[in-house]
Structures are given as C-alpha cells and as structure tokens.
Amino acid sequence: MKNSMDNNFYEARKEMFIQRSNVKSKSLIGLVLSSFLFTLSSGALAHHSFSMFDPDTEMVVTGKVVRWAFNNPHAWLYINVEDDNGEMVEWGFEGGAPPSLVRAGITGRTYVPGDEITVMFSPLVDGRPGGAMCWVLAADGEYKKPADGGCGARDPENISRWEKWMEMGISTSKDPRAER
C-alpha cells in the first residue's frame, strides 16, 4: 500500500470543526408553522470528533469496492483506487452509524465488493488514503449519502457542483479551476 495523495492538499488549516449545534425556532408567515431547524450538529452523531479530517477540502476518487463494513460505531467503505503509477491503493472512508444510515435507505447490501463507485470525501489531514465520505456515486448513476460528519454532504448544491467539476477532470476542491 502507498499513499498517493498530494500533501499540498493538507496544508494545515486546523480551523475548529464544531458543528453548529444550536438554533432557535422562528415563526413563518404568520402560520402556526414553527421552524423545524435541522441542526447541523452531525458531530453529535459521531462517537469521536472530526478534526482528523480536513473539512475545507473535498476530493473524489473512483475505484472498486473492497468491502463495505456496515458496522457500528461507524460504517466504513473501503475501495481500491489506481494511483498515477498504476498501483492499487486501498482507501478507507468513514460514514455514519448503521442505525442512522438505514433512515437514508442505505443497508449492508448497498455496496458489494467489485462495484465501481466514486466517493466524494473530506480527506484525512495527515495525508493517508482515507477520509470522511460525503456521497457515493454508483455505476448506475445513483448518489447516496452515507455521511456522518466532516463533509459537505448536506449542501444541496454539492452534487451538481461536483458533476460539473468531474466533467472538467477536477478531483479536488483545491483545484484552481474549481470555482463555486
């Protein structure tokens, strides 16, 4: 195994990675509707903090599923990715806990070894081949979000932005061409 990531991506930006955890309700157009605010405290869903990930960087890699560890406390998706030298590197991506993922229709059968998939993720800050996965694009074109915390999976524009970037051959949000 070797790490093919470019460490330039990981210039230390150790900004606080605390999810916004507190919001207040607000009335809407005079209706009885009180605001349901989805807290952005995904960190609260995790059994550890997320500062090992770089929340300011998004990357994509494409590879074949090695195993889908649909286990508590966090599901992990492992894929083999061919690096620039033609060597296979096994990457690992952390996701949410199964009890949370089943609510999004993600199960232990969602990813099968050998499936070709594309993963968008926030990488580990130390440059090893891993990260917090945000969304996964299957070969049939379906996107799923097995995310926990540490990435932009909740940004409604994220996938459409990345579709454009991937068409341009962009694989990291740090690419100068990656304009939002």
């Binding site: 955890s21 309700s25 605001s35 059994h47 286990n71 406390p73 609510r103």
Partner: protein
Amino acid sequence: MLHSRSRLLLACTMGWLVTIPAIAQINGFTGQVLEVVPPDREFATSDEHYQYLLEKANGGTKHTFETLPRWDGLWYTAGNNHMDPFIEGGMRGGKVREGVLTPAYETAYKERWRQLQEEGQVRYDRLTHCEPAGMPRWLLEPYNHEFINLPHESWFINDFANSIRRIYINQEHTNLAEMNGAHSWYGDTIGFWDGDKLITNTKYLMPADFTRWSPMTSNQLELVETWELKEFEDFDRLVVQVTMYDKHAFVKPINFVYAFRRADDLDEIGYRVQHWQCEESSNSYLDENGMTNFYLPGEPGYKDPRGATLFPELPGQTPDPFNDPVLNGE
C-alpha cells in the same frame, strides 16, 4: 394550511438555509423551542427535591398494566438546552460562563473548551475508546431509544453502546457504591408516577461528561428528572425536565430540558434495535499527540470489522454473511 408533510419539507429547507444563534435544541428536528421548567423552589440535594415531589404527588400514582402511560416504539432525541448553562455566544467562538462551575471544574472546562475551539476536538472522548456514554450523556446521545414502562420498572434503552437505564418504581435506592464497590455509568434510578408524569432520582454515577464539548461531571452527580409525553403543534415529544446536583462540579443545581420524538420512519421500515458493536469494530485511537485518529487497512492495529475471526480455517467465520466466499463458490 399546508399539509403536514409539506410543512415538514418547507421547514427542513429552512433549516438548511438559515443559521440562527442559539436557543435550545440539538440533534434533529426540534420545532418549537423547549422551555426549561425549574422546580417550585431550590433544594439542597436531589433527595430533598425527589421527596418534595413525591409528597406533592401524595405518594404517587400506583399504575397497573392497564393504566400505565405507554411510550412504545422507537424514538430519537429531539432537542435540549444542555450547552446553554455553560456557554454564552454560541458554539463557534462562545465563551465559558463564569460562576456556574466550581473553580476546579471551571478551569478544566475552559481548557476543554480551548481545545475544542483551537484544535477542533478535545483530546479525550470516552466514546472514542468504546466507553459507555453514561449519564448525563445518555440524555442527549442520538440514535434510537425505546421507553418501556412496566408497573414495577421502566427500561429506557439507547441502542448506542447498548445503554439501558432501569427505573425502579416506588422503591428505595440501593446503594450500588456499597454493593459493587464503585459507582456505575447509569447509577441507580428510582421513580414514581404522578399521573402520566414519571419522576425519577438517579444517584451513584461514574464521573462523566455530557459530550466532548461539555463540562465534566463528578461522582457526586445526582439527577431529578420529570418525564412527560406532551403534545406540540408539529409532533408529540417526550419532554424531560432535569435538575442536576453535583457538589464537586456545580456551584448550585442546574436545570435542563431534553426531548425525544417518535422515530416513525424507523418503525415503518421495521427497524429493530441491535447489539451495538464498538470494541471489535472501531479503528479509532488516540495518537501520540493525544489526538483522535484511525487505523487504516495495512496498518498495525487495524481491525477488519468484516474480516475473519480467530478461526479462519472454518467456513463462515466472518461477520459478513453477504460476501461468503464458500457459499458464493469462490
């Protein structure tokens, strides 16, 4: 009037788009602000508080199976104010409120808060090492809860880390510290019913914390909780008013509110609470700098949560029933 699903959708959309300073919620859809309802008066101890409520309820309601409030099904956490007493100014850049914690605990919390603000994490989180959530963290940890009421006991379950609280109804405390020689993660909880409200008193707890971004609590933490299923405009909530007493950590007792809502979506798909893995499947660890990190495949210490057990020579000895090489003819 919007259909309820439309209202929910609209509200969700608002949730994505709007970021508003803090009041009182965390973890999921919360809707209306939860209000802290402090006790009628202040009490020196949780015993005094609990006895006052018991006397006020004339010894409590003696429920039968037929009359017990039923809180069946799966529930999620649905809001709380657990940070409000401790932090002013919000999670990003907020400051530790002074005079709430005792000097030693306030100093410790300021360091914890500094780590969180400057380093992105506290250097130690029990959950990273598969330790139990414990109390009071149980009240706000997410995932799926069950509340099973019986006339003589209630069982409050969180599938996260297999946490079960047992509430012994109309009974006295058993001094677990004496019996077991140590406090425990969930302590000893007694309770009584006041109509449809369940009032509890918890003692003999391990020192713990609310979350990795909250203050520590001591082995003197004691709680008086009032649990009640309440109707709201959007959806019902199981609301928990809590007074926490801690001679070591708190200058005076602190009042909190927590809530749970029904997990109808999980009930609909037939989800069932499972045993929670951690020790055998978690690859997180504290590195030499005290920071949380992960072992990846190929690294010493990595545990394959779908890999072979101690008996790899036998077929079917992996915890992966779907990709069985023998049955798949590989």
